[in-house]
């Protein structure tokens, strides 16, 4: 590994990754807070742009179904999400954004500017190259 003055190239790259991920996550959290939402609540809401069941949310978010129940309870109490019975399988609940829920999701997406800003700081060529390198660095999986 190529040594620079103090650090290896790999160490400097790892530091750059950490700094980028940290900035991304902070902006995401700040945008959620601006709408009085938690990050898990936003994760649910943005997925509900397409209606889904409790179970599919649990799979996608890789968390327990009882967890989803609690998060959706709070979103429903705030009038952002509705539960419908599925007439085909009456055990199942189909979740939808309410009009207000959609408004909040759109507001969040406007408020979360980090990724757009990042693209804005790069030339089109650099943007393509960053996307390629991120995908290669992330690897399969």
């Amino acid at each position: 590994m190529v040594k620079t003055a103090e650090h290896t190239v790999g160490e400097r790259a790892e530091q750059a990754m950490y700094s980028f991920v940290d900035a991304y996550d902070r902006d995401y959290g700040a945008a959620a807070t601006a709408f009085d939402l938690t990050v898990p609540q936003v994760c649910v809401l943005v997925r509900l742009r397409q209606p889904r069941t409790m179970g599919s949310l649990a799979v996608e978010l890789e968390c327990d179904a009882s967890n989803i129940t609690q998060i959706v309870n709070r979103l429903e109490a705030r009038g952002l999400v509705s539960r419908e019975e599925d007439p085909i399988d009456r055990r199942s609940r189909l979740l939808r954004l309410t009009r207000e829920g959609l408004r909040i999701v759109r507001g969040f997406e406007r408020a979360f500017t980090f990724a757009r800003d990042a693209v804005g700081r790069l030339s089109p060529r650099e943007t393509e190259e960053l996307a390629r390198l991120l995908r290669k660095a992330r690897g399969p999986g």
Copy 2:
């Protein structure tokens, strides 16, 4: 913005960022869980490789001091961190990793392989370029 078949370059780049950040965060969380630690606990422990006060931790982690108190209480109860009185300012507590705490931090750092693996998937030239683009994309701040 240049259009491809379905998405703009910017949208594809934003998707690549999201996917990278998500993979980074998951691996970080999984490494913490492997040592029966939460992410906030790890954030405290890794900073304590250099001894610090409660207050400086609160500033660095941008959270309330009472929050730090609770996290440190749990780490101290597990014997991973010690509180010392500062003889100069007796209001202040100097926190240190115990021997066991240091062992856990090292174990975590070995278990958190995502950033190292990412570097391993790139050539040295690509690694340098990724670091440069991440820093430029992140911007000042």
